[in-house]
Amino acid sequence: MGPQSDSFEELAMPLFDQLYNFANWLTRNREEAEDLVQETYTKALKGFTSFQPGTNFRAWMYRILRNTFLTSRTGLKATMTVPLDSEEGDSELAIEPDTPETILIGRSNVEHLQKAIEELPVYYREILLLCELEEMSYQEMAETLTIPLGTVMSRLSRARRTLRNSLSGIKKGAKYGL
């Protein structure tokens, strides 16, 4: 291993915990997540010569992980049921007295939110987590997901709306003892 692998490690290992967390959210299975992370690091090391210094390394790593996931059996299965994105604008929900946010805060229940995130379609789950958890900019998300900026905005908006609706559903379910 030469200086190139040293520099790859320096750049890639600080991202390990985040990538592992993200892989788990994508696969929803610990063993598959480990395989996915291992494969991502192996592919990234092999392809490191093609990485352009000065460009966004984090987005590059996430892109490899995501593409690896999408071509896996679980990934293919997960993406088969996802609706296509459209570039049409989203109409926001009107303000309601019982909003998902107040329900969430009232219940103080992280588990409910984790369940709601887990049940999101994979395209919504990944963009929501890249935005809120990894705090990626819209441009960085566009690079990671290889989609146009407009699609980032519309998909993110839809992901948030779906999550809010899902949390409202949790409340209704609880109301009727489900």
Binding site: E9, W25, E34, L45, E92, E101, L113, L156
Partner: protein, 273 residues
């Protein structure tokens, strides 16, 4: 522009991705519209909640080591290094540790101020900003009995030469899941919040010395006395807030805090984060 149009842009605004001009306009609108401010607050809370919920999976250390090995990090690589280098490395670690501690503490402090600002904004946006409505401190103080695990005194305002500071009322509140008192004062046209918590119930230690900062466009002053932590926050000037703080710190109080712990009282935290 109607509120609906602003609300449609709220998420992009909170993501910090709105075009600069629109960012300023929406910022100004939120400061003047309680409806949009409340909606923005809810969305900020949702963003924070997703962040907390999202950090969910931790890798097994063995697995991390396996991946490190597979990309070339050999554990024996350090062997060629001299003891001198190791000593230098250890010194760097000590300095880095101190720096990290300082950064983490500052970050924790920032979060406390941010939560205090959130509580103040929630009060401003609420249709019922206080649960006990009275300008009489002898009505407001007893209302907290049995609701919070300590006691405190409110300053006597009738001795002041003018009536520009008036007590509006109070409500219970929570910071870092610890119960406390939230008092609301009117200072001319400004609404000012005074928060009181037991110092030992807060994870973040801010120190006893009084100091003032600016958090999310609000001025904040905080100090600790007799085991209680005080925060004064509002959009009034720092000098005005200092006057309110002085009432609590100085002789305007008839008697100072007599701390008592309410044993057997259970408080159910509702604050998320």
């Amino acid at each position: 522009m109607a509120c609906e149009s602003w609300i449609a842009k709220l998420d992009v605004y909170l993501d910090g991705e709105l075009e600069e001009g629109e960012m300023r306009s929406l910022d100004a609108h939120i400061h003047g519209c309680t409806l949009c401010a409340a909606e923005a607050l809810k969305r900020v809370q949702m963003k924070r909640a997703v962040k907390v919920a999202g950090r969910h999976f931790t890798a097994n250390p063995d697995f991390k080591r396996r991946v490190q090995s597979s990309i070339g990090m050999k554990t024996g690589r350090r062997n060629w290094r001299s003891w001198g280098l190791l000593a230098a490395f250890a010194s760097i670690l000590v300095v880095a540790g101190a720096l990290i501690y300082s950064v983490v503490t500052q970050s924790g402090n920032k979060q406390v101020y941010s939560e205090i600002a959130d509580l103040h904004v929630s009060m401003l946006a609420s249709p019922t900003p206080v649960d006990v409505v009275s300008s009489d401190r002898h009505t407001v103080k007893p209302w907290f009995q049995g609701k919070i695990p300590f006691s405190f005194d409110l300053p006597e305002l009738s001795n002041l030469s003018n009536n520009e500071i008036t007590l509006v009322g109070g409500r219970m509140t929570y910071l870092e899941q610890a119960p406390g008192a939230h008092l609301v004062y009117k200072l001319r046209k400004h609404q000012v919040s005074v928060f009181i918590f037991r110092e030992d119930s807060l994870r973040q230690k801010l120190g006893p010395r009084a100091f003032a900062i600016k958090s999310e466009s609000f001025n904040v002053e905080t100090w600790s006395r007799d085991g209680l932590r005080y925060f004064v926050i509002g959009d009034a000037s720092a000098a005005d807030l200092d006057r309110v703080a002085s009432l609590f710190k100085s002789g305007a109080l008839q008697s100072w805090v007599t701390k008592s712990v309410c044993r057997g009282t259970r408080h159910i935290p509702v604050y998320l984060s």
